[in-house]
């Protein structure tokens, strides 16, 4: 299957890219042995290529980075500002955070985002469910229990991001969804029979016909590599899971993806690239009605 690319030389493994430094890690995506510096370089370069090939941004764009304080959004903020500088994207970057009102989780992670604001020099805007809807997630869970609460939270968060983005007057929202997330979503949509979502979930840009388009620069980036990057660069992030997540159905898919990665790392990308999207016959009706209603809610004057 995958064999070591370099034989051991006098007890030291050499980086397979520069052949000079000692290898500090094995890349989860490709299992290559690589030194830290080369890892940073290849990690950042791959994301840069994804941005170019998919034309995610154009010069002068105002971009809101969905920032939760977790590793994905912290690394995204770090890498985007770095690439923006290095390659002169000409972007105006902002941090946009959503406070769902989950005690013991969100209140702590928001502190991290506030620190990120200072560390990366990016202006921060926080929108909360309490202000927007009059409900916190804690209150919602008290009302509906622990099943399906993620569904509510997901829908509210998307609208909250759109509202926050409108307040910031940005052109696009960038989120830290990584390859593992998208692979899990593909599986979930198959398991649940959600054809409409299945046809959209692998797009790197979504919502182009809506108020604010969204993009996922980490679409092809493995979660493990994001963790590794954050770890080696000693980035400040909040690493606890949402307290309501053990009951989430996504947990099944996540376990499976983790096991799958152990057997065949490239399977994660294979799921995303699976090309089922092209051959789906969509049942137009229900989906387009929903989209229309969503758009209508934006045509009303905002607060």
């Amino acid at each position: 299957m995958e064999a070591d690319s370099k034989p051991k030389k006098s007890g030291a493994r050499l980086c397979c890219v520069c052949n000079q430094n000692r290898a500090a890690l094995k890349r989860p995506k490709t299992l290559e042995q690589i030194c830290r510096e080369c890892f940073y370089a290849v990690f950042e370069e791959e994301i840069h290529q994804v941005i170019l090939e998919n034309q995610l941004f154009k010069p002068g764009d105002r971009i809101a980075i969905g920032a939760s304080g977790g590793k994905d959004s912290t690394v995204l903020a770090y890498v985007l500002s770095e690439l923006n500088r290095r390659h002169n994207y000409g972007l105006d970057l902002f941090l946009l955070s959503v406070d769902e009102g989950i005690t013991g989780y969100r209140d702590d992670s928001l502190e991290t985002v506030k620190r990120n604001e200072l560390q990366y020099g990016l202006p921060l805007k926080i929108v909360s469910y309490k202000d927007l809807y009059g409900w916190t997630m804690d209150e919602i869970v008290k009302m509906i229990g622990l099943k399906n609460n993620c569904t509510f939270c997901g829908v509210f968060r998307r609208q909250a991001l759109d509202r926050g983005a409108a307040l910031l007057k940005v052109d696009k929202v960038a989120t830290g969804h990584n390859a593992d997330d998208i692979a899990e979503t593909v599986l979930l949509n198959i398991l649940r029979g959600d054809i409409a979502r299945l046809s959209r979930c692998t797009s790197i840009i979504t919502g182009e016909d809506g108020p604010i388009p969204r993009c996922k620069p980490f679409k092809y980036t493995y979660e493990k590599e994001i963790v590794m990057y954050a770890y080696f660069k000693k980035l400040d992030y909040f690493s606890t899971e949402c307290i309501y997540s053990p009951n989430a159905y996504r947990g099944f898919a996540r376990e499976f993806i983790k096991d799958l990665e152990r057997i065949r790392p490239r399977a994660i990308l294979d799921i995303i690239k699976s090309e089922m999207v092209q051959s789906l016959c969509l049942a137009g009706g229900a989906e387009s009605r929903f989209t229309k209603a969503w758009h209508w809610s934006y045509s009303r004057p905002k607060q």
């Binding site: 299957m1 593909v186 599986l187 949509n189 198959i190 398991l191 649940r192 029979g193 959600d194 054809i195 299945l198 099944f252 499976f256 096991d259 799958l260 057997i263 065949r264 490239r266 399977a267 990308l269 294979d270 799921i271 690239k273 699976s274 090309e275 089922m276 999207v277 092209q278 051959s279 789906l280 016959c281 049942a283």
Partner: protein, 461 residues
Amino acid sequence: MACNSSTCNSSGCYKGYEEEEQPKPNTKAAVNGGNSCQNLCVKCKVNEPVCCGIGGENSRFCKDCFKNNLYGKFKQAVTYNAMITPPDKVLVAFSGGPSSRVVLQFVHEMQYKAQKNYDANKDKSLPVFGVGVAFIDESSTHSFTSQHIEKAIEDIRLIVSNLAPPSKELFVVPIESIFSSDGIDGKERLKELLDAVSDVTGKEDLLSHLRILLLQKIASENGYTRIVLGSCTSRIACHVISATVKGQGYSLSADIQYVDSRWEIPVVLPLRDCPAQELNTLCSLDGSLKIVELLNGPCSGINGLVSSFVKVLQEENPSRECTIVRTAGKLTPFHFNRVPEIHDSNVPSATRRHQKRYTLKPNGSLSSDSFCPICNSPLKKSNFPSSLRSHGSQQNPDLFASACSSCQFQILPKDPSLMEEFLSLLPQQMITKAKHGDQGNFSLLREQIQEFLFSDGENEI
């Protein structure tokens, strides 16, 4: 109209039917959540229920109704897709497990009924379809004792001989017969071939491709016109997930339809709507449905991971497998996913009309000219330029370029210098496909430039 589905919970369905039949006791029961219904079979309301379908408490059946429910799904699949018609000779692939035991039983019962009708009918115009059984002995790939295998084969012979009249021919064929050996020991060659595949999942998948090729060979050499597989909903659900995971999303819809005619002998899946759990229950209820212990070891690698994943999901929600298959059913099928048009006047015109209507589906289908020589999956037309770049000759087709990306990764050797040796180990059918694959692409190319070609002065490629 009575609903055949054991899992149908729609309020207009069986509950309404109940209220019609026995308004007094059951109306109350239906409102109370069916407390008194639990003591009667939901279908006939006469016998005591002995088992549950996957609908759980809402689908308690007596033995006969349970079996009839499954048989009904089988019959509907066969009729609606014109799977078996009077002039056909069907070969049932028998592995010994519960699904293939049930499909064999159901095919036999269908044949038996047809035979009785034929005997009773003065006008002997409609022949009875023929049935044969094929068991593929894969013992050379595992380390079972020869006693074990011989006992299993004996059991299978007994099962098949008891399913008469009408009598059925049994083929017990070792997997290594796929190689039309010229003195080379088939077992050795098979072992070498499998050893040349380093990926565990690739090995298992290659073996299953060889299996279907061998079934094709048996059917073709003995005049069979259809191959029946016992693939049930559960197996298909596992295939959906594992194909997604292996990056085979494009060709997935080809493998999960009722009919697959890309092969020389069309392959049909009449148990597509039956969950494994119900088939297992049927076998345990009915003593005559003896199963032969599976001789093949458990799957490992990705296939094993996927089947334990689907099992976990099924335990959490019994209708999960159906949902997965239904989702994948929304993918556009291919043009070969229906039986070839029937021109035989012996086939009832009702069946022919039905089949014609079915094939005129508005959503259309995907067409494909080229197929992977190893797994026979349809290739996207964009693969076409890459195989043009191949420098393969007629003697040595460029196997790598003509294969799908999944086979390229998990089956073919990584080191190009080992490719020639690998090619020599493959069965002839795959080599032929690799050669014809190229020609298929050339004919596609030719079609595009046809109008500019003069008929003379062309070099035949």
